[in-house]
């Protein structure tokens, strides 16, 4: 079976403490419960969570929705976004199956990044690694005014921003991520083709500003 891998890269730096981190936790929970009700997503989508603060770690390896259990996350430290990009590149290599003559590989992964700050590490090194991997699309979300959309724009063309990193806005972002994963899982199953880009996804809600 061809899996649709989804990587969530979540900023857990100190500035996310309080309402933002709670909103992220809740957002992931609601997302998982909702996707579990989608017959295509529950068969196809596999989710991994990578958090980054002073360092990046994969707190949940690529896991099917039916057995997914969210781990506890805490906000502390600085913003090692570059490490997170490097880590996701490594995980794509080891976790995502490639298509060969003998087997059908997984679908190209979807990557969602959410950050409220400016990277504190040598992020361009991580980015160079990440760029070598093929994804169906990568979406970066700048949560609140502390994030630098110019940097995110160098990671991906698909950048959205939230005016404030409050629970309502973060909740909306995760609802849109949920819808995007749902649509992507339907799309790959129906057409037998990878999702090509953001234009195939449902339009983001008004709370998400598309950064051009």
């Amino acid at each position: 079976m061809r899996r649709l891998p989804v990587y969530l890269l979540l900023d857990t730096s100190g500035s996310m403490n309080g309402e933002p981190i709670e909103a992220v936790k809740n957002g992931v929970q609601v997302m998982i419960s909702s996707l579990r009700q989608n017959p295509q997503a529950i068969e196809t989508a596999f989710i991994s969570v990578i958090t980054f603060d002073s360092e990046a770690r994969q707190i949940i390896p690529l896991t099917d929705l039916a057995s997914f259990q969210m781990a506890d996350i805490r906000a502390t430290g600085v913003t090692a976004l570059g490490n997170a990009l490097k880590l996701v590149a490594e995980k794509i290599d080891t976790e995502v199956a490639k298509t060969t003559a003998e087997q059908k590989g997984d679908w190209k992964p979807l990557v969602f990044i959410m950050t409220d700050g400016i990277p504190t590490d040598d992020w361009q090194v991580g980015l160079a690694e990440f760029k070598k991997r093929k994804t169906a699309f990568t979406v970066a979300c700048a949560a609140g005014s502390g994030a630098d959309t110019n940097i995110l724009k160098q990671i991906t063309d698909n950048v959205v921003s939230l005016d404030t990193a409050d629970s309502a806005s973060i909740g909306k972002f995760f609802l849109w991520v949920t819808a995007s994963i749902g649509v992507s899982s339907t799309k790959v199953e129906d057409s037998g083709k990878d999702v090509q880009g953001l234009n195939e996804l449902p339009p983001p809600p008004a709370e998400l500003n598309i950064v051009v």
């Binding site: 079976m1 061809r2 419960s33 579990r36 009700q37 989608n38 017959p39 295509q40 529950i42 068969e43 196809t44 929705l65 039916a66 057995s67 997914f68 259990q69 506890d72 298509t99 003559a101 003998e102 087997q103 059908k104 339907t186 199953e189 129906d190 057409s191 037998g192």
Partner: protein, 520 residues
Amino acid sequence: MADINDYMQRLLKSKEIDVSGKRARLVDEFIADEDNIFTFEQIISNQQILIDRFMNKLKVYDIINQHLQIPNGTVDKYYEYKFDLIKLGKGEIIFSDLEYPEDFGLTYNNETETLSGIPKQSGDFKINFLFRIKGENHHTDTHRKPISLIINADPKSLWKNIPSDEGKDDAWKIANFWKPDNENAFEKLGPKKIVVASKRGRSHANVGSFRDDHFAYKFLESNGWSIVCVADGAGSAKLSRQGSKIACEAVIEYFENNMTQEISDSIDEIARFYETRNQPPANQPEIENPGSAALQNSEETKEQAANTTPLTETETTIQTDPAAEIQKKIKLFLYNNLGKASFAAHKKLADFAKEQNCQLKDLHSTLIFALFKKYESGYAVLTFGVGDCPIGLINQDFTALKLMNWLDVGEFGGGTRFITMPEIFTSEKFPTRFNFEFISDFSYLVLMTDGIYDPKFVVEANLEKLEAWKGFINDLDGTNDANAKVEFNADNHEIANQLSEWMDFWSPGNHDDRTLAIVF
């Protein structure tokens, strides 16, 4: 044993009572008194009781607050989880129980400390782990530790089955090119039988959309040829259900009108050659595109292809080797007849697009078809294919299998091709889309859409493996999870329904339309 002297000294100090100098002796006398010693011992003992009680409270608190996530379950799927009470309670837990909703399907056995059973309801449940620790007895109230347990719905139950014509009338059906969600048939097809079923995929049923696959077949009484067509409308094309239908019907119509006696005679001649040799061609005929020169660099390639003058044998008379000559004749026949039929399908689609004022790509559909005819010592089988649907031909004793067409697949083939694409007719690959086989007899001639091929063969490479086809036929014969069996018997009038039921097989991630035509 704590020292009474120490204790008194600290007590007096804490009360700021001066016992220095001569007063010190008073303390010595005081702590030698039996009553005072007794009181002191009681204090120490009561302190110990308080500490023990507090420590128990702390143990309970730690157990309750220790992170415990038990594995998720799925409705109707056996679940079993053994609690690790040693780890959870550091050896302190002496009694455990679980509190969960009624009619939950799971039960807790506190002897084996295991939660097991078959979950009946889906949802995020809060269940309570009840326990007592050492030092407590059955009079003590149990402590409660809330745990979450996620029970997933049975994935099968999440799929809806909404008829594509729900609440619609006939006028709507006509205007929307409606076709039945499921179709099947069993009939005599010349000297053989055909059983075929086409089913709307679950992904379409879930949203009430149409079946995009199609099939058609026909036996031409006048010359003994049989034709079988299967087409798969592209999911992304809005009228592909009609595209696949037009493609199939156009091919049948083409041969009904154009398989003249003269044309039939010409292939009969080829067949006789193999009959006398009584062996199939050594290799698949290596067809160069005989019409490519005429088709290339033309702005009106479509029209040209339609009007390509049949190539005459005069061009081939330089050949002297009979086998080479016959191969040349095969090429010509395939190109001039099957090629024309495929182009007729394309033309019909183009005309329809014009008539409907829609784009040709709205009708995108793959197309495979096979013609066969029985001769004295065997069958001639001719095929054409565009797209990712395979045609398999299996010999009588199941010792040889021939995949008749190559598939336009994914990254390697540069993406799927459709009969609606004009460029396929001018491509240098066009002549390789045909095939010819002379076979003494065959057990099965199989045409299928990717809705069958993806779950059952997985990759293209398997389509060329005899073992994979054996597995496929065994699967049809009942070797499957659902115990669905198709009895290939000419007298089995239930066979079409059996095939239709077999085609409900469950395969995660594979919910496309499914069409399978088997000539046997």
